[in-house]
């Protein structure tokens, strides 16, 4: 509430960090049904942009297409401009430099996004080796420990030695957040990062995200179907319905004066559920 983004009012003046133009995605099976239908929006520097929609409205597909990690047989059209370059058209090497280093993602299921046969520490060192080959020198162990502390994990030695199944969902998600901000990315995509966690942990994780954002200054693309989180977190909201962008507006006007039928229905259903 108090920690909201800085630029909700003057977003028109600022240069967009990421621009999605007429993005359409279709998967190969399913007789080429389009999951995203010419989606366009802009992500401005420093803001928290929420992406809301029902299940199956294409939120996760949108997140994956920004990193271009869709299955190779998916058909992609349109453009995603990041630093004057189209991510859709990039070659592997350029993509690898963007993935993880400039844009990073946190997945829904923290337990599933770590490899079960490798320790948490291995995940860190693997990522560090990839991201820190040039530039930042210094003791990688110290950096990792610092980040974990910063993310609310204090017995770092034990956590780094443990396997994913030995830790709780909250610890894993904290570790995941620490891992994804370790390369100091420009954009952090949070793909329903709290939907598999209970409410207490959820609020801790959300607060952590906000604190870290203050400190590291990354831009957040927050994907969720939880309107409560949207209200607390986001400056602006993109409402997706069946793969189409129905509304792009600031959070307040979306919640108070929804324009489209689908948005109204979604908000009403949500309110009925929590009351």
């Amino acid at each position: 509430m108090t920690l909201k983004g800085k630029c909700s009012n003057n977003s028109n003046i600022m240069k967009p960090l990421l621009t999605v133009n007429n993005l359409s995605v279709a998967y190969a099976g399913n007789s080429m049904k389009e999951v995203l239908k010419s989606v366009s929006f802009k992500l401005y520097e420093g803001e928290i942009l929420g992406i809301v929609g029902e299940s199956g409205s294409g939120k996760t597909t949108l997140a994956s297409s920004i990193l271009n990690i869709l299955p190779p047989d998916a058909r992609k059209e349109g453009e995603i401009i990041f630093k004057n370059k189209n991510i859709i058209k990039m070659n592997d090497k350029e993509l690898r430099n963007i993935r993880g280093d400039r844009i990073n993602i946190i997945f829904q299921e923290p337990a599933a996004s770590f490899n079960p046969v490798l320790t948490i520490g291995y995940h860190f060192s693997e990522f560090m080796k990839k991201s820190f080959t040039r530039g930042t020198q210094g003791n990688i162990d110290d950096i990792v420990e610092n980040l974990l502390r910063r993310s609310g994990i204090y017995d770092t030695k034990r956590i780094l030695k443990s396997y994913p199944h030995q830790l709780s969902g909250g610890q894993l998600q904290r570790a995941m957040i620490a891992l994804s901000i370790s390369s100091n990315p420009d954009i952090l995509i949070a793909d329903e990062p709290t939907s598999s966690l209970d409410v207490t942990v959820e609020s801790q994780i959300v607060n952590l995200l906000l604190e870290l954002r203050e400190e590291f200054g990354f831009t957040v693309l927050f994907i969720t179907h939880n309107l409560g989180l949207i209200k607390v977190l986001c400056d602006r909201v993109v409402f997706l319905y069946k793969g189409k962008v129905e509304e792009i507006t600031d959070t307040k006007s979306l919640l108070e004066r929804p324009k489209h039928e689908s948005t109204k229905m979604f908000i009403n259903d949500y309110l009925r559920l929590i009351s």
Binding site: S64, P72, R99, G100, S113, L118, K130, L179
Partner: protein, 353 residues
Amino acid sequence: MISMWNELKRNKLALAALFILALLYLAAIFAGFFSPYRYDDGSIAYRWAPPAKIHFINVEKKIFYPYIYGYKVKIDKYYRCIYSEDRSKIYPVRFFVKGFKYKVLGIFSVNRHLFGVYGTRIYMLGADLKGRDILSRLIYGARISLSIGIIGVAISFIIGIIIGGISGYFGGWVDNINMRVVEMIMMVPGFYLMLALRASFPPNFSSAQVYFLIVVILSFIGWASIARVIRGMALSLKEREFVLAAKAVGLSDFKIIIRHILPHTFSYAIVAAFLSIPGYIIGEAALSLLGLGIQEPQASWGNMLALAQGIVNIKLYPWVLAPGIIIIITTSCFNIVGEALRDALDPKRKVFQ
């Protein structure tokens, strides 16, 4: 790894099989020590000599240690040697006797052997048509037969796992091409493919070349089925979220395959490797049996078994079947251990305990 061993320990049959395999490999490694004679050391005077009878007690002469009698030979009207015991002289069986020189592990030159006799020849499992000791040849043959199993499996699993992983992970045309090649190999019956491949090389290779050739041929046939299974596993693994996460942080495809996909296939691969070693041992034996593999005087279980091809030989000299029995024992041991491993690694089994 430790829990796997604990599971395995409960299976007594598998432990026994593992013990037998360990003995066989030990004998193969220290072949010179365990065999009383060299594999090519024969004497025509002892052709088709039967297994020696070992006596322990002789009350008249007050002997209470193992000893054997020499052979008395009579040639019958078909020019066959008929052996009987020559009771006039006693040859004690001694341990750690001096014999031919051999090298332990290829370094130390030693001439002591586990057992032997002075003055005559001891044939624990009889002799073949050139008077060579079948036991010694079995032990020397184990070197070839047992190592071909392991080396062949290692090579074909490395190839199969890498190719399967690559096709499963990348999919698309890479997968298509790889799988069509795999199907072409699997389409041809293995044994005929093996014969055809062998026939495409000159017949007069040296032993080392033939050994290498057999390994290559067996691996060439063997990798296909493994690649197929690993591909299937990689196909399902690449959809898992941690692989997506690895991709999302920008790891290279090579690293994702090696570190994030293939380790998940290893528990299958270990079991499958154990269960497919017998196939390689039998493949080598089959080639050598037909005279296309290891050549005389080098011993391998296959070319020793060639003596047992005629019914006359089996009728008159049943000990030529010894290599066949050893092949049966070895392959069943590998199967028993492989199946025990499969049970030990099966997560569903723990429900019952």
